[in-house]
Each structure stands twice: as C-alpha cells, then as structure tokens.
C-alpha cells in the first residue's frame, strides 16, 4: 500500500524498485469505501448490528459456552481462540469486535510495559442524583464496578510501543457505555499533564456514548476540561493521536477525541454526533446504510485514516518515530517558536 510505508530496502535499491514497480504498484486507488465493510448489516436505515461480544452466543444456537463465537456481522461461527489470536477481528468478514480497555492495551503495548495511573479514582455523586427508577447513583456505580471489574469507563497510564513511550487513555464501553463524567475527565487530564512532564505523546482510544447523565452539567464540562488539557499538550509540542472505535458518539467525539493531530478510526466503527434514530426522528429521512461509519467519516474528510486493527501498532510506531524526530528538531531550535 502506497499510502503508508516504511523503507526496508536500502536507498539505492528502493529507487530501482520504484522504477520497476511504477506500473503496477504506484498511484493505487484510495482504500475502497464499501458501505457494508466491517459491518455487514443488511437492515438499511438502522445502524450496523453490533452485538456486544461479551454476550454469550448461547441464545443464537447451542454452542459450547466459550469455545465458539458467532460473528454478529457475517453470522459465521468462529473458534474463539482463533478470534483472539486475530486481535478479535473476524477472519471471514473483517468485522472488528469491540475490545475492552485492558484487551486493547494488552494488544498494543510492549508486554509488561503498561503502568496504570489513577486507577483508584471512582465517581462521586455531585448532583445527589434522585432517580425515579434506579438505585442511588453511588450504589449503581458500585454495581457496575463489581460487574465490570473496572473502577471507571476509562483506563489511563503509560506504556511503550516497540520501546517508544506513550501515554494512553482508553475507554471501556462496557462500563456504563463509556460515558464521560468527572472521573473520566480528571483521569484524562492527569494523564495528559503527566505526559507533558514526561514529554510523551498521547494516544486516546475512544468508545463512548457521551456524557454521564448522572453527573449533569459536571459531565458536560468535562468536554471543556479534557479539550483544555489536549490544548496544553499541543502547546508543549507533543502530539495527540486519537483512535475512534465502535461506538463513539456524543460528548467524547465532540471534544478531546476530535482535537487530535491524527484521527484514525477502526473499520466499520459507528461514529457520530447523534445516533441514526434521532436523526431520522428529526429529519423524517431514512439514512443510507453505512451512515456514520468510520468509512463514511473518511469519505467526508473527518478522519486521517481508517486503520485495520492489525496495522495499528506498526502505523503508530511510524508516527511516534516521526514525531519523536520532530520533537528533537524542535528541541534543537529551542526558543524557535515564532509568534504568529
């Protein structure tokens, strides 16, 4: 693929190759945009059918509990071990299963390199929230923590990718829909501030339904708070790389996740400001299949790349090296920033 490369041959060879390969390899078309790519949903007008992979497939057919997984896109049965060896991407149809935050981190960073920070922060109840139907918010959150084994919808920390240091902010959609409340914002900001101290780039991996309702306007304000932190990261000359994964909507997509130097998205991921039902209710129009997918965003110029999961680590590595060199260039030009 011409779009992204890392030279492996020696310079002389590469140039010779360039000539030889000119007719076949060069100027290939952009990644083809297929509406159904990565989702395979047949139901036009409704979002690609996403089934949480944590659900047991027992209801679909009699399958031994964990041995096999049914792909929600192509409906094929996949040997679960095989699926996990393939980074949870269906080998039949390329459907990217959702990853939990820890799975994502483990797949990405050098083994044993991840150092989590602020894992002990848990949500408070700033509104003293009174629900008509639910248990009190603190109790509800205690249940969610119990169920998920997580303390919040985001994990933050530092890791290395092929030895290159990287700050990580990774959402977990299984924790209350990856919603952003006060803890989410605080953890992100602390990570970013620490990354500035360590002079370390930041990767955010977002999967979120938006704001945490139970914290009201405090949640909305996390959009400003997290964006302000990313602004400081940029002022320090450090890059923010944003990876949008399935699903990503609302306040997360409309704040820090979109103010990034590089925005990438996983194939087939549903990414939007609003959901399709809301849009259809408002506009009385049926939405085309594939609306608000990663590929849709690429076509509309909103993301830099749609990146298959298996190419993520190598692409990040190239980017980190490129920004690392740039950072050294800037250090050499100390005080070289020009007031515009």
């Amino acid at each position: 693929m011409k779009e992204l490369f890392k030279r492996t041959a020696k310079p002389g060879e590469a140039e010779a190759n360039a000539t030889e390969q000119a007719k076949t390899e060069h100027n290939g078309p952009l990644p083809k945009f297929t509406w159904n790519q990565g989702s395979g949903a047949a139901d036009a007008g409704s979002p690609p059918a996403k089934v949480s992979e944590s659900k047991k497939p027992a209801k679909l057919a009699k399958i031994p509990d964990n041995l096999w997984t049914r792909c929600p896109a192509c409906k094929e049965l996949i040997y679960t071990k095989e699926l996990e060896n393939n980074k949870k991407v269906c080998q039949k149809c390329n459907h990217h299963f959702r990853l939990k935050a820890r799975e994502r981190i483990n797949l990405l960073v050098d083994e044993g390199s991840f150092e989590e920070i602020n894992s002990n922060l848990i949500s408070a109840d700033p509104l003293d929230f009174v629900s008509l139907t639910e248990p009190p918010y603190p109790q509800k959150m205690a249940e969610v923590r119990q169920k998920t084994g997580l303390n919040e919808a985001v994990i933050t920390g530092f890791g290395q990718l092929q030895g290159l240091p990287l700050g990580l902010v990774v959402c977990d959609f299984s924790f209350q829909g990856g919603s952003m409340g006060g803890v989410f914002g605080e953890k992100l900001v602390r990570l970013v501030e620490e990354a500035i101290r360590r002079r370390c780039p930041v990767l955010t991996v977002s999967a979120s339904g938006g704001a945490r309702m139970h914290e009201g306007l405090f949640s909305l304000m996390q959009m400003a708070k997290t964006t302000a932190a990313i602004n400081r990261l940029g002022e320090a000359g450090l890059p923010h790389i944003s990876l949008l994964t399935d699903p990503c909507t609302g306040g997360v997509f409309a704040s820090y996740a979109s103010v990034a130097d590089i925005i990438m998205a996983e194939p087939g991921a549903f990414i939007g400001f609003a959901g399709p039902r809301i849009i259809e209710q408002i506009t009385k129009q049926k939405l085309p299949t594939g609306f608000n997918t990663a590929e849709f965003l690429l076509e509309h110029g909103m993301v830099d790349r749609v990146i298959p999961r298996k190419e993520l680590a190598s692409t990040l590595e190239i980017l980190l090296r490129l920004y690392g060199v740039a950072s050294a260039q800037i250090a050499n030009q100390k005080e070289a920033s020009y007031a515009r």
Binding site: K50, S52, E116, N118, S119, N120, L121, I122, S123, A124, D125, P126, S131, L132, T133, E134, Q176, G177, G182, V183, G185, E186, S208, G209, G210, A211, M213, E215, G216, L217, F218, S219, L220, M221, M223, A224, T227, A228, N231, T249, G250, G251, F253, A254, S255, A257, S258, V259, F270, G272, F273, A274, G275, P276, I278, I279, L287, N292, H300, M302
Partner: protein, 339 residues
C-alpha cells in the same frame, strides 16, 4: 399580556421539532440515544411494567420545570434583542467562508460601553416562519465554523468576546454528521481554551448540551435567573434515564439545571436576576441589569489581565484553564493498584 403565558401555544410551536420518542420504545443501543448522552444500555432490570407504574404516578410540582418553561418562553428576548439593547453599533457578519451561512448562530462586531467587541449567539425565532429560518436555534456545523471564524477575528484584533447562549442543542440532522458537527464543536472548544481575549458567556434561555458549550467556554460564565443549562434537554434526559419523555419535569429537577443550582456548584460565576414573572415581562429593566453584569465582569477581566500585556494574557489563560481543570468530583478507593 405579560406575566402568564400559554403553555399549549409554546408547545405547539415546538411540537414539530422536539424528538417524538414513543414511550414504549426500547432504548437498547447507543445508536439510538441523543448526543451528549450516555445510557444504561443492556440493563434488563428496567422493564416496561416498571415504567408504566411510574407514568401513572402523580407528577410533583417542579420549580425547575417552571424555569424550563420560562427559559423557552416565546417572548423571551433573543440574542439579537440583547445585542440591540446592549450595544451602540453592530455589524452582523455572515458565513463560515467554507460552506454556508447559518442563521441559527449569529455574530458580528459591536460596540459595548465604548469598547469594540465580538458578539456571538444562538438565534431562535419568535414564530414558525422565523423558527424555520433560524432552525429553532439549533446550529449546523457551518454555524459553529462561522463562530470559529469570528473567534479568530476577535483574537486578531484583540476584541473581547461576548456570547449569548440559547439553544435546544446543536442540530442532530444528517447534514450535521456529513459536515462533521462533532469536529466543529470540538474545534470551538479548543479555540476558546486558547483565545487570548476576555471571554464572557451568558446563558439567556436554553443552554442545551454541547451546542451551548461550543460558544460557552469562558472566563466568566453568567446565567439569567430563569435560564437553564443542561447536559441534555429534560425531555431527552427523561428518555435516556427512564425511557419516558413525559417525566421531563422530574428530570429537570434531578439534573440540577437551574442557574441557582449551577451557581451553587461553582460552574456558573453569577446569576443575573430577572424581573418578577421573567425577563420578557420588563425587558428594559432586564437589559439594564444585564448591561451592569456584563460591564462589571468585563471591566474586572480587563483590569486583572489585559492591562498587564502578554503576562496578563498568559495569566488569564492559566486562570481559564484552572477554572475548568477543577470542575468534577471523585472519590478515591484505598486499594490503589498504581502510583
């Protein structure tokens, strides 16, 4: 006649734009929810029987809901009314220089108490025709990009920025997705975080979610007494939380969306009192009060920061950062696995 107003009429005007979510609809995936909102998806414990019981209950009196009705009052002054009443000169500027001009978000150069300022605000209409033109005060992406352009204009000429917030939310339509509403809002948040001029935001009516915040990251955040500011509209909140839009009054109460509540929380710097019965009942006296508040806060910012040159502007931006940095609540578990 001022004072009392016709709720039915107001709802009639809005009926065709508020999302009509059938009560019995199952909300069970993130794709179905409102922007800015998270939902407790896939939680089987909330069944429909449970909800019906709630629906049949008597709804309690809600002071917050009365404020919602006042905030949305059809005769409430709109952004252009405030500009006209508060400013001595005004030249409206149009267009994002990219795609279009959005009548739901207006802005331009104005003179306020002797200063040249940039003003920005959501613009609702006062009748159906106006509301169609103004898209009920719900901007599209090009509206926020016009705002971005005018913010940059303010930065270039060192003009204080005054914003007037009054929107049900950013427009969640097809074209908003096609033209990157989320990115447009996010870029405005970023620009406001670093805008090297004093920024004062005033919620005049409805402060609806990210569409409000996109022109509302400010050194001073003011609210009119009967305005509201919320992460999602009461109707949407009720739907998301309890799958029942008719519980909007209860949601208005639970979500703590009134100016006094938000002032108590420290999110809002000042609450501007309104005449009894609401600002629309005595507009001249409302405007006098608003002018006083805006002037006092602007003068403070000028004195504290702008008079001190580069250093002052750095200090202003640091203070703005700290202001948002400290918003949020958390507790700490003792069984920390890290640090």
């Amino acid at each position: 006649m001022p004072g009392r107003f016709n709720v039915k009429k107001r709802l009639g005007d809005r009926a065709n734009i508020l999302p009509k979510i059938p009560k019995e609809t199952e909300v069970n995936s993130v794709e179905e929810i409102l922007p800015e909102a998270s939902i407790p998806a896939h939680e089987p414990e909330h069944d429909q029987k449970h909800e019906k019981e709630h629906n049949s209950k008597q709804k309690p009196h809600s002071p917050a809901w009365e404020r919602v009705l006042l905030a949305r009052h059809i005769e409430r002054p709109r952004t252009l009314d405030f500009i006209q009443a508060l400013c001595d000169e005004f030249v409206e500027l149009h267009g994002d220089r990219r795609y279009g001009d959005d009548a739901a978000l207006v802005g331009g150069l104005a003179r306020f108490e002797g200063r040249t300022v940039m003003v920005l605000g959501h613009q609702k209409g006062r009748n159906t025709k106006e509301n169609i033109l103004r898209n009920f005060g719900m901007p599209r992406a090009e509206g926020y990009r016009k705002a971005l352009r005018l913010m940059e204009h303010a930065a270039k000429f060192k003009l204080p920025l005054l914003t007037f917030i009054d929107t049900p939310g950013a427009y969640p339509g097809k074209e908003s997705e096609e033209r990157g509403m989320s990115l447009a809002i996010a870029e405005n948040l970023l620009e406001l975080c670093r805008l090297p001029v004093p920024v004062i935001a005033l919620v005049t009516g409805e402060g609806g979610s990210g569409g409000a915040l996109a022109i509302g990251v400010a050194d001073r955040m003011l609210m009119l007494e009967n305005s509201i500011y919320s992460v999602a509209s009461p109707e949407a909140s009720a739907t998301i939380l309890w799958r029942d839009a008719s519980q909007a009054p209860a949601a208005a109460e639970a979500m703590k969306i009134t100016a006094p509540d938000l002032h108590k929380f420290g999110i809002i710097d000042a609450v501007i009192p309104e005449p009894p019965g609401g600002g629309h009942t005595d507009r001249p006296s409302l405007m006098i009060t608003v002018r006083e508040f805006l002037l006092r806060h602007l003068a403070e910012l000028e004195q504290d920061y702008i008079g001190r040159g580069v250093e002052g502007i750095r200090a202003m931006l640091d203070a703005r950062y700290e202001k948002y940095r400290k918003i949020g609540h958390w507790a700490e578990l003792s069984n920390s696995k890290d640090n």
